[in-house]
Symmetry: C2
Subunit: 555 residues, 2 copies
């Protein structure tokens, strides 16, 4: 049985899900022993431990120039010690070029089969990847498992499915038969989906697999060769994924350099050299806006970015304001505000929030939010695992700085004890009240656990500010609470014009930070937070070119 | 019956044709009296005559600032005399902004119905448009009728169909029902296709409707308002189309400013002012590469370009070389080389072309080509109508310059008599032999009736040069003649990598210059000749953004 036949039904289901947008997941998000095996977690932990202070020798890239690696665990607060083979840009490009010309000739079905099989390999290592993710990004265990494992694999499958569908959108051949009156002109036509060439995928430090696999699998599915350039602070999780891809390529007698890992170090980053290389046609990037905008402006490249944004929450009215505060407190605490979808600006009318039992004042709501944040942090069975650790020391500095923002500090950042990792770098949220007129304060992303409670004249001003932030500075998510259908439609319409998806009235176990493969588009591509979307048709169609040839039918 | 119901079956057929790529045409390309009416041609001519030296008062744009118009007929060699209302950029943008917010709320079906109805209006004026096209572009009557009338309308329908399909690609609503073990999370989700805003469509002087209607209809279909900025030398044909669109809008109680005409003059062009305006989000452009590249680099805009290229013909082997020469002679003569798909560089091996009856030498083939060109020009029933007139005096200057190219001049440009228009500006092809080593000579577009016969070492060098030209300077079309399946596949593969469609072994009544709506992608978007393609999915998906909102299902 071909690899494609083996995985065909999953690909078909994924394509259906992309169209229906209904719930679908091919990989189980819970680290369940019944799904993954009784010892899978413990085995994964041991394998991760064994990778520390060692060379990562699983890659099939030969003749490395040196071994490098500078990762640090935010939980251990010490270097991870893993090292990776390093290669010059010239070597990487030469190998990518060579592998491109064989990979591009592999049929879409065979490519899909190989890529699906590599996801099976990734699945067998979800726990190793989870621990590697924890100890590079600082994510809590559950998020690390879900985001870097099953959720990432589902996003990769999404890219495979979208690519497969688009490559089959037009026929390989057709006969064009034009009546001319007394005779017909008949042409045999054929269409080729021509991949663009070498693709460079630039990873970020907080979601090293989730944010990279879509570009990797999107480019590979459409016939391009890929160079994966991870963030020097978060290599191991994606190194495991690349190793699995190379393993399947080699097992099928294909060039493992079709997908290369390009590791660099903080003191000698190779990202610009790679991105600017004339042979590089495709660039995927997740990270800060300045570098993302530089990449977008490079001439002659097709660039897919996820940059930063200012995410808003509009508070107008609610049935039960306590449930709202509990839900938002979780969103703020989750991974210490280090998600690109985390809320930052909370717009609350000076007259308060309308509820079934009357108005809840600005101050009352602020206090409820603070209380909920604190009670989650102080719950030893939940807090440390929800907040996790802080990936970058600069984030802690930013949190301290945030306390100096002019306005009432409702909650100061503080420390807490992680019951497992006593040296973990942690930071709890800082909450500051800001007046709606002080736009200069809240008109930028304050990455990390920093929330601003912005006092507005009314909900109309809240909407106008949230919309303006999204248009000027980008936004990836928006939360809104209202019991009025008119206000809801106004928010839906205005935020849609700012290309920002809105989660309305979330309470209970679902959060605005989360978004689901096959249903939620991640980033819309329509505001400055990024120019691409997981996974809309453009995300894959821009990776290849339709070229049609024709010839008269021989009589 | 709604306008959508009236046209639904045509839209459905067009969508099917876009997928099958088989022959389809909704508008009859022959100016047949049985289709268009016995007096349609004569009536159209009269109406065109009546438009000369008059104000064009059909537009529903009010409060013009002045009346301007500088068109000249290349056949009469005198001004057309029509004038058009002119508006400031500020007025155009203000009106476009206002109309955008009503038009974006019109349903895709209603938009499609209105746009289809406007094409019916256009159809009723195909002959007027044909004469207006002749007397602005210099096209011969038959090309003017076909390209500006039925072929343009089919390309517009293509954009409507592609847009309609993409707008319906994802559901407006879905229920997302995620099993969580003991309970389900249920979200009502909705997706909105949010148009980007104001679209500016910049026309060219040679194909004033064909090259503009795709952008106009693509943008309108996807909910954007459109400002049509024609070339100051070719306004009337597209003015008639815009008037028809405005007529249908007004008849359906919609704002006619949803599609505005923005006429300027050679001495005061408003293109940059419009393109750079912050409210303008979409730009469609056909024209020279320098301006096209400037537009592509404008930050924050989605830009669709068709620029220029160097089109090649690769001559390797043929069954009947005389048929080849006849076919290519027609391609060179057609509209005096002023089509963007016209061939320029003819690569012929120094050892000659292999045929069934032995080798045909370089010189023999050159002479055959020259003889065929001459005999077509000198056929009074065909020549003047195939060549037409020259739109721009600079093209004539370029033809004269071309005779100074170092190399054997096989054919000098000359004059001929047009039996109807004795003052017509005409120029016949100049044919120059160039050695394959003199790349600097043939590495640029020489717009107009200029053909270079490039002597190469062999077919491999011919292919390498054609590919390199396309990659470096762009190419929209390529012709190739070979009887070898290996050589054919090599050309198909190499030119596909240069994103250039190849017409193989064309003889008889079909030419490499031609390409058909619903089947041939016009420009691939994959080389410097342009970044967009009529009409691939991206051509419409880039005009709007998918935004998804969600809310828990109320229990």
């Amino acid at each position: 049985m071909s690899l494609f036949s083996k995985h065909e039904s999953t690909i078909k289901k994924a394509i259906e899900a992309l169209h229906s947008r209904e719930f679908f997941a091919a990989y189980t998000e819970h680290p369940s022993p019944t799904v993954y095996g009784e010892t899978a977690d413990a085995d994964g932990k041991e394998k991760f431990k064994a990778m520390r202070k060692k060379k990562f020798e699983e890659l099939k890239q030969t003749n490395e120039e040196s071994w490098v690696g500078q990762e640090e665990s935010p939980y251990f607060s010490e270097p991870l010690g893993a090292t990776y083979p390093s290669f010059s840009t010239a070597t990487l490009i030469e190998r990518a070029n060579k592998s491109f010309h064989s990979w591009r000739k592999v049929s879409p079905s065979d490519r899909a089969g190989i890529l699906m099989e590599s996801l099976e390999g990734m699945k067998s290592r979800f726990f190793e990847i989870a621990y590697a993710t924890m100890h590079t990004t600082g994510q809590g265990y559950m998020m690390a498992f879900q985001a870097s494992g099953p959720h990432a694999a589902d996003r990769a499958l999404e890219a495979i499915a979208a690519g497969y569908e688009e490559l089959n959108r037009f026929p390989a051949k057709a006969m064009w038969d034009k009546p001319m009156g007394k005779y017909n002109i008949q042409l045999n036509k054929e269409w080729r989906a021509v991949p663009k060439g070498i693709s460079v995928v630039i990873g970020c430090s907080t979601f090293p697999t989730w944010n990279s696999v879509t570009g990797i699998y999107g480019s590979l599915m459409t016939g391009n060769s890929v160079i994966v350039k991870p963030h020097p602070g978060a290599i191991l999780p994606i190194a495991i994924v690349v190793a699995e891809i190379q393993k399947v390529l080699a097992a099928n007698n294909m060039d493992p350099n079709t997908c290369q890992l390009a590791v660099d170090t903080f003191d000698k980053m190779i990202t610009k050299e790679l991105a600017e290389h004339k042979e590089v046609k495709l660039i995927d990037y997740t990270g800060n806006s300045a570098f993302g905008s530089y990449l977008e402006a490079l001439p002659g490249k097709t660039v897919f970015t996820e940059k930063t944004g200012v995410n808003s929450v509009i508070l107008d009215s609610a049935d039960d304001v306590d449930k709202v505060a509990a839900n938002l407190a979780f969103s703020i605490n989750l991974y210490s505000g280090q998600m690109c979808t985390a809320p930052q600006n909370f717009y609350i009318p000076e007259g308060g929030i309308t509820t079934a039992s009357g108005k809840v004042s600005f101050d009352e709501f602020a206090q409820k939010l603070v209380d909920n944040i604190n009670s989650l942090i102080d719950n030893p069975k939940a807090g440390p695992f929800v907040l996790g650790a802080v990936q970058n020391k600069k984030t802690c500095d930013r949190v301290v700085e945030a306390e100096k923002i002019p306005g009432k500090v409702w909650l100061k950042s503080r420390s807490f004890e992680n019951p497992i990792f006593n040296k973990a770098r942690v930071a709890t949220p800082v909450i500051v009240e800001v007046d709606g007129s002080k736009k200069e304060i809240f008109s930028k992303e304050l990455f990390g656990p920093i929330a601003l409670l912005i006092k507005t004249k009314n909900t109309d001003e809240s909407i106008a500010l949230a919309k303006d932030m999204a248009i000027q500075h980008g936004a990836i998510s928006c939360g809104a609470y209202t019991t009025s259908s008119d206000v809801k439609e106004k928010i839906a319409d205005e935020m849609a014009l700012a290309a920002t998806p809105v989660s309305f009235n979330l309470t209970g176990g679902i959060y605005m930070n989360q978004n689901a493969a096959f249903s939620d588009f991640h980033v819309t591509g329509g505001n400055p937070s990024g120019n691409a979307s997981f996974t809309n048709p453009e995300y894959v169609t821009k990776r290849f070119t339709w070229v049609g040839h024709r010839e008269p039918v021989k009589v």
